[in-house]
Amino acid sequence: MPVALSIQNLTKTYSNNLVALKGINLNVEQGDFFALLGSNGAGKTTAIGIICGLLNKTSGSVEVLGINQGDQANEVKRLIGLMPQEFNFNPFEPIEEILINQAGYHGITRTDAKKQAEILLKKMQLWDKRSNIAKSLSGGMKRRLMLARALIHQPQILILDEPTAGVDVEIRRSMWAYLKELNANGMTIILTTHYLEEAESLCRNIAILNEGAMIEQTSMKKLLSKANQQVLILENSKKLPQEITANNFNYERLDDYSLQVILGSEVSITEVLQVLSGQGIDINHIRSTQNRLETLFLCLTNKTNKKDFS
């Protein structure tokens, strides 16, 4: 499969000497649904800015569908649609105009742009608001407007920088369905998000940036299989006894009725329950605390104790 995006040794030092990217490498295949994860300030938006021509890189190379971004920036811009993290439209412009102007910058005639804008605004449930100025939209609506704008020139690669921040649950689900549909029709999608559940349900491949360095690039499946540790909360209807003997698993007493148990691959939940019931504790409710990917993410980015995941 041809490579949609290939980044080599990309570095970025901002004018205030802050090093945001320390030589990252990244490959995204065509047709992929790719998650670029990382904590706040990891450098995701910086990397995206360079790919899209919003920022000058310090060194390294970026190729999009085999075209070098440094040499043929405009050719690359034709291929990409960007939905940025921050609102970046003129708040006083009517939203339909925003889409038509964006199309105009891509060389699409007003007549064609109007048709395309209508399709997208309807899809984003913004058609009723087409003559309203952008300022009058709610936060979630503004995000949808930016998604529509990113799609107006029918790009081959869609880059979404935190697309669902501030979007309500219902719209988020429908946005996911729409993105899946676009991806199924061949569009390569690269997404950053802090909702790991979103990455897990949408993306096939994943990269994790941490403090400007790429610490992981793998498939979602492989990554999740690494997540062999699970944190469960076990609840008892009766008060727990003072002493609990547990030789093969770690636990923590949360209150008089509940225990937090960390399960590795060596012990199963059945064994844990057996050990507990042997001491007269009959667990009547089990829930998991964290999303598996979330636990793993925290471990990889060093935000929690690494030895938990050995």
């Binding site: 990409i80 960007l82 412009e93 910058y105």
Partner: protein, 252 residues
Amino acid sequence: MWIAYKTIIVKEILRFSRIWVQTIFPPIITTSLYLLIFGGLMGQRIGVMQGVDYLHFIIPGIILMTVIQNSYANTVSSFFLAKFNHSIEELLVSPVPYWVILLGYISGGVARGLAVGISVLITVYLFVDFEINNFFIAFTTFLLTAILFSLAGFINAVFAQSFDDITIVPTFILMPMTYLGGMFYSVEILPQFWQDVSKFNPIYYMVDSFRLGFFGTSTSDLLTSMSVLIVMIVILAALAFYLLKKGVNIKT
């Protein structure tokens, strides 16, 4: 490319038309006041300047001053706002060559200069009877002036980091230069030293050739004036293009 250019220029024209109360209307008021006070009331005492009665003499100056201020104001505020609300990114992620972006903004500034210039011209016509001696010279001067100050406004906007930065240059540099360039007087009335100093003020050449277009008389020759204007346009255009391409204060 043509579509992209058209999109930018239409957007620019719509922008200043939407806020016509702030853009088109004020120059009409100030022009009326200038004519009334300087031309009407004081002009009678001043009499004749450069062979023309004072009321007529100040007309080209007033029009050109309006053009200078408005072309400058249009690009400086439009480009600065686009930077400020990040909508400039809409252009930067699109395959629009930098020279088209620049041309679009400059055309917007020229369009505003033209819109305001014509409104002022009509206003003047309501008060005073006058004729334009050589329309071609007047129009060319107007056009070059509008281009030059649109470029200057653009460059100001690139460097501006705050709203204060877009008012400093107009207030402390542009305004004095305009007044000292002979908007309301002929440099002939100045002592020799100040006459020579005026020759370093580009606005002097613009007013002078604009007046030549109106009255057929001038204090400097047309060729010099046009050369000064064109050379300055070339320099500022090259600088503006360089700044935009490098992404100074935008892509760092």
